[in-house]
Subunit: 344 residues, 2 copies
DNA sequence: CTGAAAGCGCTTACAG
DNA sequence: CTGAAAGCGCTTACAG
């Protein structure tokens, strides 16, 4: 099949199809202006020879690597896993591949690590997950290298830098509204760590909903957490040993909500009988614990798909410049009502 | 810095250093036979120009892509996450990059998907995680393409195909020995699904330990599980409602052990007071639940590092042929004794 | 210890 | 609608 016995090249296809390599290239890249019969003939030979263009040659000649990078910090975070899943699938559909790199957010040679990856691989785009997407050093290194980026749920949107997110504020409002509509009035809130933007947004949503219903947040019912199981458990211990207990706890992520569940159970406080608990994230375990957790599903895989699409579309000259409002996507979330919440 | 204003190329470095590009190439690839002063001079210019060789050019000319592929099925599995973490880190240290691809084990176009990736990217090696590493279609596609593979914890070792694993049998023996040494005699075992090799090996270890102590497995105390939380919970419900309850449960993975914990707590059976529970995997949540779970830590990240190393060393002509016994690595595990087990 | 030449397999202008 | 030429930035033989 191939001249030298290795895998077939574009030259083999061209010879076999009786056309020039340029025409083969045109067909493979879906360029317009190829006669249909020519196209069919080329595709037939491509199929017969099982020819696939070699990425390194395309990349060297064309300046596109068909590689998209995914930079993350905490590999065990469910968020990262879902991003990766959504991104690989969409990449495959679009003929791209995903290169992953795990970076310490505070590594001394962070910039160097990024430079090495970018210079070596020349990825066509980069997806950044928190907290890396909020790290000025990461962003400037990438900007200088001219690598298009999409930020996943960044702390704040940057002018000219594409981002994808969900509406944390609104989702937290919905959860709070649910609890209020179930008749809860003493609703405790466990906040996330100050250095994560989601913390503030979710709290904001909580407060908004209370205000809309004529309530105001009770400082007694506010606890600081750290988005971890333990911090949720500890916060719940505080809240549930008050003289006047809350009837519901809104933990601003699932890990903390699971901690609340554990604390309630240790205190012999039935959920949802005596206490309603709501989380945020719809983590894999949220559906598995007892009782299954009412929470909010983040559309993470969809966000990742959207990120890949933005990166790929940016490659096309005609799409190179998106308007500022097209740059920042907000994807719809979903309230997941399970058994951990009940009318009081 | 560069002739044409883009990023510097090997030509720029050669000109600046007053040598040929071949010499620059030699220095960069750590080839022997370069005068030290020449080497230093080249490295100085490389540093000054911040030159990094372009992977696509190296790949096209040299036939090595410096890419290693990671193929996995279930992205949410903690195992995959740890493999990926270990692999990316080791790849970076060795100048490689990790490309990930998620595949359905029973996808109709599985072979095509693999072909596409291999033909396009020409990865220098591939890491396969269960169950893909036991899928004949995957293995034959990869063999035909000539891509070196390392199997992570495959069902069985294949002649000539490198693999990395831990000793499941022995680890299960150790857990069982621990329970026996704590005075437990009625030890229940929850098996994993038949289609996963770890299931059989862990059960084997359990049986071995019993036999060594003069016991034999009681069919009443054996339950079939599926390595999921729910299956563990259901199995435990069965076991714990028997007229004669077990005093200890060895769930052959952590997810099932967590299910056992949940069941015990719902039945009001204190752990470890009335029931000892042991798992297997040391999953992230194992340490977070109450009580923290006694389990076995799989050296997954280390296994992944070893896999990358085997793949990279195979690139070197002098290392191309490993002996059969060097092909199959078994890495040491670690017994993690926490609070879910107690003397009866 | 060092270098000049050829070539890897594509795409990009440029013609026609 | 199609093609011949040049070139992307490296490494591989091959010389010396």
């Amino acid at each position: 099949m191939s001249a030298r016995g290795g895998s077939p090249t574009i030259v083999d296809v061209a010879r076999e199809a009786g056309v020039s390599i340029k025409t083969v290239s045109r067909v493979l890249n879906h360029e317009p202006g190829v006669h249909e019969s020519t196209r069919d003939q080329v595709l037939k030979v491509v199929e017969a020879l099982r020819y696939r263009p070699k990425q390194s040659a395309r990349s060297l000649a064309g300046g596109r690597s068909f590689l998209i990078g995914l930079l993350y910090y905490d590999p065990s975070a469910a968020f990262v896993g879902s991003v990766q899943q959504g991104a690989t699938v969409r990449c495959r559909e679009l003929g791209y591949h995903l290169v992953v790199e795990s970076l310490h957010n505070d590594a001394p040679d962070l910039r160097q690590q990024i430079d090495r990856m970018v210079m070596a691989l020349r990825p066509d785009g980069m997806i950044l997950t928190p907290p890396l997407c909020d790290n000025p050093e990461v962003l400037s290194a990438l900007r200088e290298s001219g690598t298009p980026c999409v930020l996943m749920s960044p702390e704040r949107d940057l002018r000219g830098v594409p981002s994808v997110r969900m509406d944390d504020v609104h989702a937290a409002e919905e959860i709070t509204n649910l609890l209020l509509s179930l008749g809860h009035q003493r609703i405790a809130f466990i906040k996330g760590p100050a250095d994560q933007s989601a913390s503030g947004m979710r709290y904001q949503g909580f407060v908004n909903a209370l205000h809309a219903h004529g309530f105001k947040p009770d400082p007694e019912l506010l606890q600081q957490g750290a988005f971890t199981f333990e911090s949720g458990r500890d916060a719940a211990h505080q809240l549930l040993s008050r003289r006047q207990r809350p009837t519901a706890v809104f933990a601003s992520n699932d890990d903390m909500a699971l901690g609340v569940l554990a604390a309630a159970q240790r205190l012999g406080l039935p959920v949802p009988g005596e206490l309603s608990v709501a989380g945020f994230d719809d983590s894999p375990t949220a559906a598995l614990v007892w009782p299954p957790l009412t929470t909010v599903r983040q559309p993470v895989a969809e966000m990742a798909r959207a990120a890949v699409e933005m990166l790929v579309s940016v490659q096309r000259p005609d799409m190179a410049t998106l308007e500022e409002h097209e740059l920042h996507k907000v994807l719809p979330h979903e309230l997941v009502v399970r058994d951990s919440t009940r009318a009081r």
